[in-house]
Symmetry: none
Subunit: 216 residues, 4 copies
DNA sequence: CATGAATGAGATTTCATTCAT
DNA sequence: GATGAATGAAATCTCATTCAT
């Protein structure tokens, strides 16, 4: 798999200023610590970033902009890492397990759900102001969703090539992939492995379910 | 199926005062209209309820309490209706389709996701204040989750009795049930039926997937 | 002269709430004390009015609105008193001298120029926000300028009837009246009476100049 | 008339640095464009002047100083030009009409009133900070008001020499001169010429009124 | 019980000024 | 000298909560 399936629109975050990144990281940390997104204060962000309050307004025009971009930045880093994972392993199955590894390592950091999942499931509870900002972003070619879909499609194709399943419809493949990963996230979130299984058995169960659904 | 599998802890909402219910409804309406939950103001609630602002504090001790109880009240009414659905049909399959009917009818009302789903998936983005209130509630016997689990277990048992599937582990049954319903919700939310299928085909696909996963 | 030549549009200020008036008075006092109009803080206004800061926003939607309305309110009270003066004396000359009395009594209260004069001369140095508010007011029938012009016209007509001057053009009469009163204000502001004259002589000079200009 | 009646204290502006002048011009332009004087920001000034923000503090110690000096600089250039006008024409009447020309040409540039007039009439609405700065200036020999009074006195004397009027009191002559020019400014500002007269008739009216008032 | 006027703590944002480069 | 990134004091405005009626 090429290390660059298609250009990642989030590359807008390449080469950003240090203070900008410190602010993003402050927001992400707070989300990880389960702060309510709408309760985050500018003073929280700048305080954690170790900079003056006024400095935030040298880089952004409003608090909303800081938060939206921080969420996108978080998505960006997750996707970068996931892309690396999907490129770093050879076999289809190895990739899937590596992905479950990543999810299991990242998700528990949050008491709730990680921002990537929140973004994918669209359940950030965000103010209209923030929504408008995000919508602007999504209504351009810079929308990362298309990028994600391409990434998944490319990966799921490999399962066919390796003759692990036969399902020919790419949308259905994507749907099953997403649903089963969601199932795995629920497993992790609920601190149990479906059906009192151990960790490895739970993973095998998820993987096998996916294969089962994609074969006649 | 008895119309009362086990006592519903949310029965606390039986016989509440009219003004109290008007306030709950105001909150629920706003959530349906996709307001940010943390942006809801006391004046919004009392305004929509057609009562004086001070009156809210005759019934509740804080804004957070109003909202938490309103969300629980919403869950309560959903569960009442779902319980009725599961009791109103005879066959396992009919019940499942009736459930999909209900989800399809209710979910689109919200631009995002209905409060029941949000509650089930735990992705309300709520302030710590509200969280503490909810936790207080969940740490008592009044927690509706156990009730929901019992409801699902009872229903899924019927599939075994009707010899639709053979899976013996109730936790696994519950997990598959939840995951597949989630998949259906994604279908509705994304305005497409997995794999370019029509509405009926999509439902059949979901139902059949569930059955497939619960058989060896 | 009837006590009501024509209806005063500023009658909008009849029967206002007490707290509203306290805020107006606070603004007027500060203008009298020569505060810069744009430096007035909401906390100054509410502090002087003896009310809470938030209360201001129960009566007005913005600081600008408070200030604009306070200036109009000030104009309103000035005009009410001037109308009373013009109705309270019989002869043309007595009225003019009573007017000079009023100006002399009121103007020194301000280190600069009173708000009525500032309004008449359009030299408030005001922010665009305030200007827009004032313009809205002026672009309605409620504009006090027409009212003022009618008041002056009515008064200057009396000079013709009393055969004090013969000038037939009402616009010219108004212009001369305004210019000479302005001259008197300069006298007061500069703490001298034109040409080293005493107070009475200065007044006579102004009055006689006006008469001179309105006769061939 | 000698080109130098008495030394102009504003000659302090001779030979100033280029960047200094660029900043003055930026302020004057903004006043002409009807900015509120207290809303002018340092970044506006340096931005328009095309220099770095920090540079302003190489030449001035505060924003207030920049603005005060800019207003004085504006007065300085106006006075230079007015002095030139009063020296460039021979007859008393020609000089008066040339002056009206100048006012008519300069005033409409501003939506409100030009800074010279504002300064003469003392109706800049300025913050205490600026006032203190101006007072410092006025309490020195550098005060331009005396210079202006001398200029007017010198000019008004010519009217006596040319036997246009007989008024002997110089303060009275100055007062009438100022009042009538003010009347002319009102004419221009209000876009009408007193009493529906045309432009030339209005000028004649003003001039004749002045002459009338200065004769017995 | 019901009300809504009053409150003030606390949030976002602005911008004159500093200072290391 | 010239710069502009960084700062934080201070301003406006919001809104949950109280309490006299």
């Amino acid at each position: 798999m090429s290390s660059n399936i298609n250009s990642n629109p989030l590359d807008m975050f390449e080469g950003i200023a240090e203070k900008e990144m410190l602010m993003y990281q402050a927001v992400i940390d707070m989300v990880q610590e389960d702060y309510d997104i709408n309760s985050i204060k500018v003073s929280d962000i700048t305080g954690r970033a170790g900079i003056g309050k006024g400095t935030a307004y040298e880089y952004f025009t409003s608090k909303e902009e800081i938060i939206v971009k921080a969420l996108l930045y978080d998505t960006y880093t997750h996707l970068k890492r996931i892309e690396a994972i999907l490129c770093g392993k050879d076999g289809y199955k190895d990739k899937f397990y590596a992905l479950m590894d990543y999810l299991e390592k990242k998700l528990p950091l949050t008491k709730g759900v990680g921002s990537l999942m929140k973004m994918l499931s669209g359940t950030y509870e965000i103010k209209d102001d923030i929504k408008i900002e995000l919508d602007k972003f999504h209504n351009t070619d810079a929308c990362p969703l298309t990028y994600v879909e391409n990434l998944i499609d490319y990966y799921m194709m490999q399962g066919v090539e390796e003759k692990i399943y036969t399902e020919a419809n790419p949308i259905l493949r994507r749907s099953v992939f997403a649903t089963q990963l969601t199932g795995y996230i629920y497993c992790i979130m609920n601190n149990y492995y479906a059906g009192n299984l151990g960790r490895e058995e739970a993973r095998d169960y998820i993987y096998n379910s996916m294969v089962k659904l994609l074969n006649p």
